[in-house]
């Protein structure tokens, strides 16, 4: 398998932007290891989803990352009380804007709880399948 888009056995590169508090620190270690072990998935920890600047998503896609998964806690569970409400608003704008571009369908926003065993690896897997179907991100002149 290769992440080189020109190769026939291409596999998507995925970045996960993830809240440090409720997910990364306490997520089931086995779940986390299953994702971290994959060479084409990178987890980027953010202190809180409230710190998630849409620019992170845009620059990742511009740099040739095929898909971005943004994962944070359920609404009401935020350590800082309203960080994920902020993220929710921003993502709503970002996704509507991205709908109009060729980056359509390459982002996903998910709520995960530490109590939900197995959900995180499954989300990443779904994302890989979806992006795999979309094909490598276009990097030609636009």
């Amino acid at each position: 398998m290769s992440t080189d888009r020109r190769k026939p056995n291409w596999e998507p590169k995925i970045i996960v932007l993830m809240c440090d508090w409720c997910l990364f620190s306490e997520l089931d270690r086995a779940d986390l290891a299953r994702v971290q072990a994959q060479p084409n998935v990178r987890i980027v920890k953010i202190p809180c989803l409230g710190r998630m600047d849409p620019m992170y998503v845009l620059t990742a896609l511009q740099e040739g990352i095929d898909g971005v998964l943004v994962a944070g806690c359920h609404l009401g569970d935020c350590h800082y009380k309203r960080g994920n409400f902020m993220a929710e608003n921003r993502i709503a704008v970002l996704q509507t804007v991205l709908e109009t571009s060729s980056l359509k369908g390459r982002t996903k926003f998910a709520h995960i709880s530490t109590a939900e065993r197995g959900v995180f690896p499954r989300l990443v897997e779904e994302m890989q399948q979806k992006i795999g179907a979309l094909g490598p991100i276009e990097e030609e002149l636009t």
Binding site: P54, M55, L58, T59, Q62, G64, H74, L75, G76, D77, R82, F85, M86, N89, R90, A92, V93, L94, T96, V97, L98, E99, T100, S101, S102, K104, E139, E140, L141, T142
Partner: protein, 381 residues
């Protein structure tokens, strides 16, 4: 209080003089220290200026149908912090809406501002206006033609509210909010019989200080606005449909493909206020090595870099507050329909948040507004 400003000899074409008289009185009665109003320069250009001497208001052109910039930004500059003067600002409806958004973004303060809103019959871009003025008053180099050009537009609108002249700015042709929604002093031109004077609505106390008598007004403002709004909404929706189809089929990359990244759209946008704009900062000063790396890795790399990043980021930052003044389209050297793109996407985003930009300073900016009950609703799901 609703009152009538008399017009000299009851002539509709003298409407600009009537408004000028109202402005003079605002200065004379010391309700404001100065007025921000479009003025005509000796060369015939129309530009906003701050006027404190009522005698100099003879060059004021509050009705001249030209829009070279959105004056809301200037209204922000003259009001943003104390100490400041009491300033009266004469603004078009789209400028008033932008001012509301700037107040919410803490880039303007309504405290010592007196807003004077005038119903807008539409505007030309600067070159079109200058050409038309030159044609109207060739001997005077186009000076003083503003009121006549306005009167033409007003007559046309009175005869048939549905028809917008095709040489108006595109943003004006699709403007479904050309009437003043909220201002301290509203100059109600739509549906007014100007031969009987200009109807204005203003606070009682201010009216008394100006020596105005409350008058009963017949007029057909609401009906006229309804007709104009219906026609413009139709024109707007036709553009939205066409643009949405283009965005679906081609994507924003293709629609804005000719962008030369001059940043004019950002510079003229009344909402884009950030002093430390990412695109003016060193954050995107890539190193030569980075460019070489891109070329190697991607095979081909478009320069200047970050064109789509620029538009997508700008959309993210201001599309919720886009008031549709269309300055971005006028400013684009490549002639791209920037305003149409922003309004089309803006409508979708604004609908998601059930938000109307420029409606009222009481509506919080949705991106930073959280209601107590929002927590419960979503948390209990």
């Amino acid at each position: 209080m609703r009152a009538t400003i008399p017009i000299e000899h009851g002539r509709q074409r003298k409407a600009a003089d009537g408004i000028r008289r109202l402005l003079e009185r605002l200065l004379e009665a010391e309700i404001v220290d100065a007025l921000l109003v479009p003025m005509e320069t000796p060369t015939g250009a129309i530009t906003p200026a701050l006027v404190s001497d009522p005698d100099l208001l003879s060059a004021a052109r509050p009705l001249a149908p030209v829009m070279g910039l959105n004056a809301a930004r200037i209204a922000g500059k003259v009001s943003i912090r104390e100490p400041r003067g009491r300033i009266g600002v004469v603004l078009r409806p789209c400028e008033l809406r932008a001012l509301v958004e700037l107040v919410k973004l803490q880039q303007a303060s309504p405290d010592d501002l007196v807003t004077i809103g005038i119903d807008c019959c539409g505007t030309y871009d600067v070159p079109t206006y200058l050409a038309k003025a030159q044609k109207k008053a060739p001997k005077k180099g186009g000076r003083g033609a503003g009121p006549q050009l306005w009167a033409q537009l007003f007559d046309r609108l009175s005869d048939n509210p549905a028809a917008a002249p095709p040489d108006l700015r595109d943003a004006c042709q699709m403007c479904e909010r050309p009437h003043v929604e909220q201002a301290d002093i509203t100059v109600e031109l739509f549906g007014a019989d100007l031969n009987a004077g200009i109807p204005v609505t203003l606070p009682d106390e201010m009216g008394e200080r100006l020596g105005l008598e409350p008058t009963e007004m017949a007029g057909q403002r609401d009906e006229t606005i309804e007709k104009i709004v219906a026609a413009r909404t139709e024109a707007r929706d036709a553009r939205f449909t066409a643009m949405r189809q283009r965005l679906d089929e081609e994507g924003i990359e293709q629609v804005l493909s000719e962008c030369v990244r001059c940043h004019n759209c950002m510079t003229v946008c009344p909402i884009c206020y950030c002093k430390t704009c990412l695109f003016k900062s060193a954050a995107l000063d890539h190193t030569p090595r980075q460019y070489a790396d891109w070329a190697r890795r991607k095979g081909v790399y478009r320069l200047p870099a970050d064109t789509m990043l620029f538009h997508l980021t700008r959309l993210n930052h201001m599309v919720l507050s886009c008031v549709g003044c269309g300055m971005c389209t006028d400013g684009c050297p490549a002639g791209l329909p920037v305003g149409q793109v922003f309004r089309t996407i803006g409508q979708q985003v604004q609908a998601k948040f059930d938000y109307t930009p420029g409606h009222s300073v009481q509506d919080g900016l949705p991106i930073i507004t959280f209601r107590e009950d929002e927590w419960l609703e979503k948390g209990e799901e």
